[in-house]
């Protein structure tokens, strides 16, 4: 408990927010705060200025434009779960959001916050990489759009620079022949991930991302390329085999590196089979 002294500002517009982030040394955007405020208690982070995005309703919109689903960075996980747009265009987002922490955290926690924190155990970084999402980042100089893979830079680190703000996450809408899956092992039901894999197939082309095995989500490219034609348990296992050896996961109190390598492969198999089944409709 008990935070160090910190300054606070509550902008009313995105422009104002960017200005505050640009002009104040050590400024950090405060979204839902479900991670940030708690690591501040632990002194694992000590921003000098908190720029509260809580009043930026323009960042809380969910809309479908053309073939993509556009989600405002300040959209809470609860809103994701309840969104009919999400349900129609990319239901996996709601499905995964429903397994993040608990009701209270989902009521405050935002999609933007979840990925900007980029804790390696977070749910959305690997999922958004698998879904080939893109992020819109606004700065004093205007907007730029980066792919999910470019977005994640390190633990607690993204490509969002000081003076910049993540405003929007864009996810391709699922058409026929698209299927998504996510599987992993958590610390207790709906708990912190120990290891996971997210898989997405679009017309036979696979994107598979691993969580908890590095500082950022890791593409399982060898597995992605392995599939030709029908996917079944055997081919999924064949594809996953050997992926573990290509990653360098941490060892901690919940899992040795060896265990995480094994879980990564098992998670790939299960995520792929789930995605494949859904792609078939």
């Amino acid at each position: 408990m008990l935070l160090r002294e910190v300054s606070y500002a509550r902008p009313g517009t995105v422009e104002e927010a960017i200005e505050l982030l640009a002009q104040n040394d050590g400024a950090r955007a405060l979204a839902g705060g479900q991670t940030l405020l708690n690591v501040m208690k632990q002194r694992a982070a000590s921003p000098d200025v908190l720029v509260d995005l809580g009043r930026l309703d323009e960042l809380r919109t969910i809309s479908v434009s053309g073939t993509s689903l556009e989600i405002g960075a300040m959209t809470t996980l609860t809103s994701l779960i309840r969104s009919s747009e999400v349900e129609v265009t990319r239901p996996i987002l709601a499905e995964v959001a429903a397994t993040v922490a608990d009701v209270q955290v989902r009521n405050r926690g935002t999609l933007g916050g979840n990925i900007c924190v980029n804790d390696p155990t977070n749910h959305f970084p690997p999922l958004l990489v698998a879904l080939d999402a893109s992020m819109t980042i606004a700065g004093v100089g205007g907007e730029r759009v980066v792919s999910a893979e470019e977005f994640f830079v390190g633990v607690f680190e993204t490509t969002v620079q000081e003076g910049e703000l993540l405003t929007k996450i864009t996810v391709p809408a699922a058409g026929k022949g698209t299927g998504d899956g996510m599987s992993g092992v958590t610390l207790g039901a709906h708990g912190t991930y120990i290891a996971n894999a997210a898989a997405s197939v679009v017309d036979g082309t696979w994107r598979i991302a691993l969580g908890c095995v590095g500082a950022v989500p890791v593409r399982a490219t060898s597995a992605e390329k392995a599939f030709s034609g029908d996917v079944d348990d055997a081919s999924a296992r064949a594809a996953a085999k050997g992926v573990g050896a290509t990653v360098d996961p941490p060892s901690d109190v919940h899992a040795s590196a060896e265990y995480r390598r094994s879980l990564a492969e098992t998670s790939i198999v299960r995520a792929v089979l789930q995605a494949n089944e859904r792609a078939r409709g």
Binding site: R4, G26, R28, T35, L36, V39, M40, Q42, R43, A44, A45, S46, P47, D48, C116, V117, N118, D119, P120, T121, V153, G154, V155, F156, E157, T158, V160, T192, G214, A215, D248, P250, S251, D252, V253, H254
Partner: protein, 152 residues
Amino acid sequence: MKLEGTKEFEAPREVVWSVINDPSKMAKTMPGVESFEIADDTHWSAKVKVPLGLGGLKMSIAFTKLEERPLEFASLNAKGQGVGALMNMTTSFTLSGEGEKTSMAWEADVKIAGPVGSMGQRVLQPIINQQVGNVLAALDTEVQAEKADAGG
């Protein structure tokens, strides 16, 4: 936590040595250095802000050169203190190779204590691995710059 690896440089040993033996050049390879002071040729100190996205971790680090055998071996200790974290790192570099190629075998024993050390357990190893990667990349840049200077 013990880390080790080998880094290959496209540069003569003298050049690599001159970089790793020069605190001010080494300083440029470290993440988030805000200020740097050299007390004497075996003691120097730095104030760094390790760039963690959540706001950065401020630390003041005191370096002590433990041992050196010119062109061959150097080892140093770094003690860092910041709110929430204490770091104690002992690292050594062993150079080998001939002509334009130098191979640097490095070892580091990093201990992190304090709230961050315990809280950050699940994220600390990736952080350290990544920071080491950054340092080695920066070191290569410095070596090439030095090589260019030496050559030019």
